[in-house]
Symmetry: D2
Subunit: 320 residues, 4 copies
């Protein structure tokens, strides 16, 4: 139930020894648009070897990062929304090329707002759906995409797996693809509210702030699943881990003996995590750490993401 | 789209000329429990003739009424919750006798909270689900019923018919029956927040505060559907109708001529409604009338209803 | 307690016989900006004679109207926000000229979000405050205005008059002026969500959707009070009145006798209202009529108004 | 800004070496009612020496604890509400004996719901106020207490200190005393949602989940202030501290050398905290740790607390 983790591929990549070092089966690309404060990173997990190393499935993970996202600058959010729409369209094009979704403008996209609307850091998905303009119920003879949307709720409130609910709805309404929105857990506090991750691999067990036991993937749902996420919490275990690391350094520099530091250095990351789990598990369960202004962050970014989706799928939104 | 209506069978029955008069194919029973302020009414629509006369499908409609429900007396709400559980169990027993649901204690009930959580008088269903204790996700080897629950949202937010969403979920999770909770439209203001209706006929087009175009019935969902509703609004047309009637009486008593009153008397109810529709439709659409303290009413009654369901299905709740 | 009314000066003006006709002590000005769909109307009540005729205090009432406001076009809302900021700045300039507020850039403005956050059509004020960027708590050495904000709640929840709460806060924090935001009651349904009224007369008894018994004016608070309002409801009595008027016309054209129509024509507006009150009062109380999609309207316009305030007071917002 | 702390006097007391050991100027009393699962603890800080040792002001801190509080057992919550009302009445009697509040039944109590309604673990105060029955606005010739209530909001939303807002309201409405409700920070995770603290010392800087810089005490507000709190978060620093302690033990038992453990033992608590602060401050700010089901806890306990207040002040509630 409890798990130390990051939902961000870019953080997983950074955690490898000799940061920036090569991992077999994983490619990394970083770039910035001209005149933009947004840093883009694409982590591509190319094969099973990369997947094992990263603990994440094969696929593409694009990260948009900017410290200013944590602030409420409106023009800035528009820029991020546009970048999100560009990345969404790129992934969509690829899905069409691979004949995973039909090459029509009016494809039907089911947008899923995961999470618990009454727990602030877990409410990103429901809030995005609150801003979303669905049009499947309108008779528009349109050339745009057809959007439908659902907030499936969390298992403690429904008694059902999210995957069950979605499979049923997909069975009835036959969308061409799914976009799932979820609040994520990061390993580093500086990521909170400053990063958007877009991936074509769907949602995996242990992803997200809440506890979504079953995966929401092409394999489980029978449809391509893009996932958009923003880290809003850090697991308590990650905090403890980072602090132990920092403590190790402090001890090494402040004390004559380096044994404590040495001890920590001797542990490989898996062993360190094991130790943390032993310490935390019985008492802490799935506790998470979140800043007190997370409500503002979630409100703002839910708007940015819904705008990004509108720009990607509705022609009259993209001309800005 | 716009429709003058009451969702309460008891009001429909009252509207017949010579109130309390007999309607072919409809039976009426009224009673009070000893020492209780709750008035119970059962309207049974027995055949197609009754259904046509009442404009509602064949089935049983039980109404629990009490002025005190509009107040916040807690002991009182407990009494109403208990009465609701008694009526629920009676309907359940009948469903079992007719072999529509299996005669086991641990039947699986899907509870559906209809309506829009962000529109106060339409938020009854979602609020009941917020209080509901689902247990399908727990492994209890229990003798109690298995409850799951869903808030499907409204079409303007999902782009999907509620019936589509529910059919899908039923297909996947295979409940034995459905209980649907909805805010209702009454014809009389004094019903707002003072009445709970329980019926075994499900939800029909035009029922509820919002606009649920497709019906949620045994026919459409393939499962027995009990529906629990509380009137929280009166359609604008009903207000106008009542006022015209009152105006007719005022004119008749205040003026020398009685032609206006006579004119209104000559119109049968259908014609009166037709006239009102002509007047209202272009301008008013689906407007409704609601009191300013409806938030308190919805909050309290959502708790009463969730408790009634708990008492009906969970053994450790019923011993009070 | 119950009252038939409009909070819009422009509607009050329209209600005079020979619409558009002159009223002594009241001036009317209508205009459109070039290339804009926004219609502006300024009703100036010049003296006590005008005030008596209009049933509203001496002062200026500016209305921004546009059907498109009911839709979610974002660029359009920006245009309205800008126009609101222009009108706010005009009123502010006048207050400075009259030495009612100091002629400094960094004046301290207390923004008040009136209404009940848990009743959808009454939640405009609290929602605007949810979007507002206050800065009184920041130490910025700024040249901008200093904003503080409060959601005082409603008397049923606080047991206090809103005026008491505000007087206390003003006593402690000494702002230079107040801007009060409130949901309004209109007389005509087509105004709902399509009109913003800005006035320099504050809030008066009977204004707003809820029941604010005491006035919030320069007289009661000791400070200039600008008020921004959007009609979100129509009183049930206004609906009835409009329908009776329409019924009169229908009867006049459909019946041989015109007595009913004549009867209604003979009544002057006050008498008509008196009749409606007699009919409605005992049963209906302060009921109001509102459309089912009012949640979307309130959400959108709360954003438009907060942006208008930001543009009026923060220099880095106005350069768009 | 950042602070490692517990708002619970009982935890502060437990932290002293030789747990349960005597602290000069502090008395401790623990008891259980017959047939009750509630454990009561009274920590009385008797003088300045005790205040310095405890880091909390002179006064009485009563804690009601029960693991079952974290569950949703309704009868159980009623028992806790009754115990809270007993303790409230005891503190009230003492205030009357000391002539700090008038010895009348109809004293006027201002109930203050501190915290941010849109951040789940900080929303306890606003939620209690949502359940509270104020009656100051009613003309009842009553013998009961007069309750008024306010949700002042948080400084990031108002730009004002909570103390400023309250001082103003007290100036205008002249209550006899204040009861402040706030979400608290505990040091131990097992306290979350299982403990209610009642104190006659008011709210102090650094108390509560959010950041209330100024104190709300008899000194600052000019009135006796009772405070009711429930721990809903643990500061990130406390987690780190507990883990370091546990790590120390693990190292001591698993490693040959005990230097690491020794190192930690050598540090007195203040030094340990200093170290944690150094580690956490730059990066973590005021981060807190909270469980994912905190929404349910806050919902349930807000109801328990409002009922406790009703039972303490309204005669028709106490006869249960």
């Amino acid at each position: 139930m409890f798990e130390i983790r990051t939902d961000l591929a870019v953080e997983e990549k950074e955690s490898f020894p000799g940061r920036g070092g090569e991992v077999k089966g994983v490619s990394l690309r970083e770039w910035r648009k001209a005149c933009s404060k947004i840093k883009l990173t694409e982590v591509a997990i190319l094969d099973e070897q990369g997947a094992r190393a990263m603990g994440k499935p094969v696929g593409t993970y694009v990260t948009m990062e900017a410290k200013a996202l944590a602030k409420g600058d409106e023009d800035y959010h528009r820029e991020v929304a546009e970048e999100l729409s560009v990345q969404l369209k790129t992934m969509l094009k690829e899905l069409k090329k691979k004949h995973k979704v039909p090459d029509r403008k009016d494809i039907h996209v089911l947008v899923v707002g995961l999470g618990n609307p009454s727990v602030t850091p877990d409410s990103l998905g429901p809030k995005v759906l609150g801003n979303l303009r669905v049009n499947r119920n309108m008779d528009e003879g349109q050339e745009d995409a057809v959007l439908s949307g659902i907030v499936p709720g969390v298992m403690a409130q429904t008694g059902m797996e999210t995957a069950e609910i979605l499979k049923g709805i997909i069975h009835e309404t036959e969308p061409d693809m799914v976009i799932a929105i979820d609040a994520l857990a990061a390993r580093s506090i500086r990521r909170l509210g400053t990063t958007i991750q877009l991936t074509n691999t769907g949602i995996h067990p242990g992803s997200g702030v809440g506890n979504h036991r079953h995966s929401l993937t092409e394999e489980s749902l029978g449809l391509p699943v893009l996932a958009i996420g923003v880290p809003t919490v850090v697991g308590a275990a990650a905090i403890v881990h980072d602090t132990i690391a920092a403590l190790g350094k402090t001890l090494a520099s402040h004390m004559e003996t380096q044994e404590m530091g040495d001890f920590l250095d001797q542990l490989d990351p898996d062993e360190q995590y094991q130790l943390i789990c032993e310490l935390l598990e019985p008492e802490f369960g799935a506790l998470y750490v979140t800043p007190p202004d997370i409500d503002q962050t979630v409100k703002r970014l839910s708007y940015t993401i819904s705008e990004g989706i509108h720009m990607a799928f509705f022609s009259h939104f993209s001309a800005s």
